[in-house]
C-alpha cells in the first residue's frame, strides 16, 4: 500500500529548512563582514573597534526588558502550540 503524501506537511518542512538555512547564512555573512572590517590593526580601525565595544558596553538592557518579556511569552505560546500539534 502506497504511503499517503501530505502536501501540507511537505510544504511546512521545506519552508522551515529553507528559512533556517537562509537565516544561518545571512548571520554568518554579516558576522564575517564585521570581523573583516574590525580586525585590521590600523590605528583608525583600532579606535573604531574600541568605540563600538564601548557603545555595546553602554547599552542599558533595562530599557528593553518589556520587549524581551513579550518575546519570551510569545515563544512560550508558540512552543505550546507546536506541542499540541505533535502530541495533541
Amino acid at each position: 500500500m502506497r504511503p499517503e503524501l501530505d502536501l501540507f506537511y511537505l510544504f511546512r518542512y521545506a519552508l522551515v529548512l529553507i528559512c533556517t538555512v537562509y537565516a544561518a547564512l545571512q548571520i554568518a555573512s554579516s558576522l564575517w563582514g564585521w570581523h573583516r572590517y574590525l580586525t585590521p590593526s590600523r590605528r583608525e580601525t583600532a579606535v573604531l573597534r574600541q568605540y563600538v565595544i564601548l557603545q555595546l558596553l553602554r547599552l542599558r538592557v533595562r530599557r528593553f526588558i518589556p520587549d524581551v518579556i513579550q518575546i519570551v511569552l510569545l515563544l512560550g505560546v508558540l512552543g505550546y502550540l507546536v506541542r499540541l500539534h505533535h502530541y495533541g
Binding site: R12, Q55, L59, I71, L74, L81
Partner: protein, 284 residues
C-alpha cells in the same frame, strides 16, 4: 569657566547652544523650544539674577557645601546652584531659601513664611522626582554606611582659595623697565585672552563630541528596538499560522479521519452463509 555671554553674542548663538546655556542656568528648555522663547526665558532669568542679592546666593552654596570661590560672579553661582537638588532646607537662611525658590521657578512674595516656601518647593518637585530622590538617598545611605561607616561632621565650610592676582604694572616696570614692563603686561593680558578663548573652543568641541556620542547612543537604542520589534512581529505571525494549522487539523482533518475508522464497540451483523459447492451437489 568662561564669562557668561552678553546680549549681542547670545542672539547669535545657535539654538542647541542656547538650550545648553539655559539648562546650565537651571531652566527647563530643550533645543526644540522656539528660538524667541529661549531668548526670552534666558533674559528673564538674567534679569532675575541682577535683582537677587549676592549674599543670598553665597548662603545657598555654603549651605550645600559646594566648592566655589567667594569672588565668583552671580551667574557662576547660579550655575552651581542649578545642580543642587536637595530638599532638606535645615541650616539655610530665609533669604537663601527665598532666592533658591525663585531660581527653581517657584513664585515667592516678600512676605511669605518659610514653611509656605518649603511647601511650594516640595509641590514643585513632583512625585516622580521625589521618588527618584528618595530611592537614591536610601541607596546612597546604605552604600555610604558600608564603605565609610559612621562619619563625623564635615567641619566648617571654607571657600576655595582665590587665584593669584596678576602682577601690577608698577611691579612689571620696576623689574623690567618701562618698555619691557608694558610689553610684558600686554603679553600677559594677550596670553590670558588666548587661553580663555582656547578653553572656550575646547569646551565647545567637548560638548559637540558629547552630543555626537549621545546621538549615536540614541541611534543604537533605536536599532535594537527595531530588531526586537521585527522578532516580535515574526513570532506573532508564527503563532497565528500555528493556530490556523491547529484549527485546520482539529476541525477538518480529524473529523474526516475519524469518519473513515470503524466505531469501536458496535457488533457487526452476521452475514448469511453462502452455500458451498459440496452441499449443493449432495442435495442434487
Amino acid at each position: 569657566m568662561p564669562d557668561p555671554p552678553t546680549t549681542a553674542p547670545m542672539a547669535d548663538m545657535p539654538a542647541d547652544e542656547l538650550a545648553r546655556y539655559g539648562t546650565e542656568l537651571g531652566l527647563e528648555v530643550s533645543p526644540q523650544t522656539p528660538r524667541g522663547e529661549l531668548l526670552r526665558v534666558i533674559r528673564q532669568h538674567q534679569e532675575l539674577l541682577l535683582e537677587i542679592d549676592r549674599n543670598a546666593l553665597l548662603d545657598i552654596v555654603v549651605w550645600a557645601r559646594r566648592p566655589v570661590r567667594e569672588s565668583v560672579s552671580k551667574e557662576q553661582l547660579a550655575r552651581e546652584i542649578a545642580t543642587i537638588h536637595r530638599m532638606r532646607f535645615d541650616g539655610l537662611s530665609d533669604s537663601g531659601l527665598s532666592v533658591l525658590a525663585k531660581l527653581r521657578g517657584v513664585p515667592v512674595d516678600d512676605g511669605d513664611r518659610r514653611r509656605d516656601i518649603i511647601k511650594r518647593l516640595k509641590q514643585h518637585e513632583g512625585i516622580w522626582n521625589k521618588l527618584g530622590r528618595k530611592s537614591r538617598g536610601a541607596v546612597g545611605k546604605f552604600i555610604a554606611q558600608v564603605i565609610e561607616g559612621q562619619r563625623d561632621d564635615a567641619g566648617e565650610y571654607h571657600f576655595l582659595p582665590e587665584d593669584k592676582p596678576n602682577q601690577a604694572l608698577r611691579e612689571h616696570i620696576e623689574e623690567d623697565g618701562v618698555v619691557s614692563g608694558i610689553a610684558r603686561k600686554l603679553r600677559g593680558a594677550a596670553d590670558v585672552y588666548v587661553h580663555e578663548k582656547l578653553d572656550e573652543i575646547e569646551a565647545r568641541i567637548d560638548r559637540k563630541l558629547d552630543e555626537i556620542d549621545q546621538r549615536l547612543a540614541e541611534w543604537r537604542d533605536r536599532e535594537v528596538s527595531n530588531r526586537l520589534r521585527i522578532i516580535k512581529i515574526t513570532l506573532v505571525a508564527s503563532v497565528l499560522v500555528a493556530l490556523l494549522s491547529l484549527g485546520y487539523d482539529y476541525f477538518i482533518r480529524r473529523p474526516v479521519r475519524m469518519a473513515a475508522e470503524p466505531t469501536p464497540g458496535v457488533i457487526a451483523e452476521p452475514q448469511p452463509a453462502q452455500p458451498s459447492a459440496s452441499t449443493q451437489t449432495g442435495s442434487q
